[in-house]
């Protein structure tokens, strides 16, 4: 075991940070991360998968695939396309999607708190 302090390893001239990414998985596949959450939030805002995808610089096809995957992974659909189709009735997110986004927001806050605490420990080391 090294007896040395971390202080002697880090260069005082530089700024060190602990960083990371977090996501939810479903049966080992990606289920929910910042990208899918943003897509759902933009669908809620614009009422349109097309507009939401465009705001994210993403193709409609890619957005549709993400939605199809998410809807199949959740117990109930997260995004629904109302009668009249994409151009007619538009799209919306469900109450289940809102619950999931709320959970994700809180999970993300706890993760950011973890990263901040670890970064502070590093600086104080």
């Amino acid at each position: 075991m090294s007896k040395q302090s971390l202080k002697t390893v880090l260069n005082k001239k530089f700024e060190y940070k602990v960083n990371g990414t977090l996501w939810m998985e479903c049966d080992g596949e990606g289920f929910l991360g910042p990208g899918r959450v943003e897509l759902m939030e933009l669908i809620e805002k614009t009422g349109s998968i097309n507009k939401a995808a465009a705001e994210m610089g993403m193709s409609y096809k890619k957005a549709w695939e993400m939605i199809t995957a998410m809807n199949a992974q959740a117990a109930k659909p997260l995004v629904i396309t109302q009668s009249g189709g994409e151009k007619g009735g538009g799209s919306a997110i469900t109450e289940e999607a809102r619950t999931l986004i709320q959970y994700h927001t809180k999970l993300r806050q706890r993760f950011l708190a973890f990263l901040e605490k670890e970064t502070q420990n590093l600086i104080d080391s």
Copy 2:
């Protein structure tokens, strides 16, 4: 605010998990993550950058670039090549590298504990 429980959003047939990755940054650039730690551990084990790189399926050039970057980011070199060069004297990791690896191992344990706790919360929700 949604009043719904997360339980109704998740499908009982599937297994959900919170997963993520973690790394250290230095002035906004990647400094230390599982890859660099593994490289240092293999240099310690084999006494050779070449052998360590080969075990990771990485080119010598790539390993050398990682080491050059790490050495410049830390206060003191983490990997040293002893006199005689790579083929003559071999390479070793320093006491500073060992301190850093120890810190990284504990940081990783705290992160895994965070992920497990969040996954458990999700399952219990």
